[in-house]
């Protein structure tokens, strides 16, 4: 049906449509090659930027997770050493992490004021030095905790 409400065939309808399309295109200026290239470049930049942002986000999430895991493992180990002593080794049910090793050594506390002795009777102010190492021995994290222990708890 045309705009006057009369029925027309398909061929005539296409001609009308084509005529209107050409009229519309003539009314506007055509795109130049430079415009098309600029538009495609902007589109390309947008896609590359979105893709780069996603990639950066993935990397940041992975780093955040690794940092959390690192801190969590050494906290878990520290809790165990403070509970069971520096000479103990956390069992696999408490420290179930593969490819990492944790160790604890007891050293003299540092930074005490002059004239203050770290040992008093059977008690001693010491420092637990807790280290987390990877499978090949590389140091991943470390923690120092001052603690009053018995002299015999070496």
């Amino acid at each position: 049906m045309n705009f006057n409400g009369e029925f027309i065939n398909f061929r005539e309808a296409l001609k009308i449509l084509n005529f209107k399309l050409r009229a519309a295109m003539k009314a506007k200026a055509k795109f130049t090659l430079v415009e098309v290239v600029v538009a495609l470049t902007v589109l390309g930049f947008a896609v590359i930027s979105a893709s780069a942002m996603c990639s950066q986000s993935v990397n940041r999430i992975a780093k955040a997770k690794a940092r959390w895991a690192n801190q969590h493992m050494i906290s878990q180990a520290a809790e165990y050493f403070l509970l069971a002593g520096a000479n103990s080794q956390p069992p696999s049910e408490i420290f179930p992490y593969k490819n990492v090793r944790v160790s604890c050594s007891v050293v003299n506390a540092e930074g005490l004021p002059a004239g203050v002795d770290a040992v008093s009777g059977q008690w001693r102010l010491a420092t637990y030095e807790i280290s987390l190492a990877g499978a090949s021995g590389e140091k991943l994290n470390s923690l120092k905790i001052d603690k009053i222990i018995q002299v015999s708890d070496q």
């Binding site: 050409r22 893709s51 997770k65 878990q76 509970l83 002593g85 408490i94 179930p96």
Partner: protein, 211 residues
């Protein structure tokens, strides 16, 4: 357009072909970005869950203290519940206002695949059974969890022993509590915290050593 008769079939085919190629490439890019975005959202949610559990065990387990209440038989009993899949305890809490007090009660359990923490200002009494978390404020700490289990530490002579349950008749609380959470995707994580500042030579109050 060489003439006024419209586009030729060849022009149409080429135009549609180019349009299809552009759309396919754009769709592939969009799908890839969508997948990456979903992955980021999942990882982000997982890290948030880990941090929330971190925060709860740090505040609740580390500050757990023995707390007793009188039961139906007028006997003073500990309110600590230590089961394989559930823990309920009293812990010291920052005083936000006078009505709340300095002790808060928490219960951690698994409910429909969610790790749920229920908080109350009044004791959750073991002899009230599972209904003891009524009127508690609940918070979902993590979702899509397949199982959760607890271990409780006690000292026998000089050795630390771990058990999957805690004697309900004991007036002490464990020296340390460990929670193990397993997610439906196969991931798992453990959190162990000493209670009430317990250590190699330190305990909160005098403990009765078990045989």
């Amino acid at each position: 357009m060489k003439n006024n008769d419209g586009y030729t079939l060849l022009e149409m085919v080429i135009a549609v072909g180019i349009f299809t190629m552009v759309m396919v490439i754009a769709s592939m890019g969009m799908v890839a970005i969508q997948k990456t975005w979903n992955s980021i959202a999942l990882q982000n949610q997982k890290i948030r869950s880990l941090q929330v559990i971190d925060s709860v065990v740090d505040s609740a387990f580390r500050n757990a203290v023995p707390f007793a209440w009188t039961d139906e038989n007028n006997k003073s009993r500990s309110v600590f519940i230590g089961e394989t899949d559930r823990v309920s305890l009293a812990y010291r809490h920052r005083i936000n206002n006078v009505d709340e007090g300095g002790i808060r009660f928490i219960s951690l359990s698994l409910d429909n695949g969610c790790l749920v923490a229920a908080y109350r200002k009044t004791p959750m009494l073991p002899w009230d059974g599972r209904t003891n978390i009524a009127h508690a404020e609940s918070e979902v700490l993590a979702e899509k969890i397949s199982s959760m289990s607890f271990l409780y530490a006690d000292r026998k002579k000089q050795d630390i022993s771990w058990a999957s349950g805690w004697d309900e008749n004991s007036n002490d609380i464990p020296l340390a509590i460990q929670i193990k959470v397993e997610w439906m995707n196969g991931d798992s994580e453990v959190w162990m915290r000493r209670t009430a500042g317990a250590g190699l030579r330190e305990t909160y109050g005098v403990r009765v050593e078990k045989k």
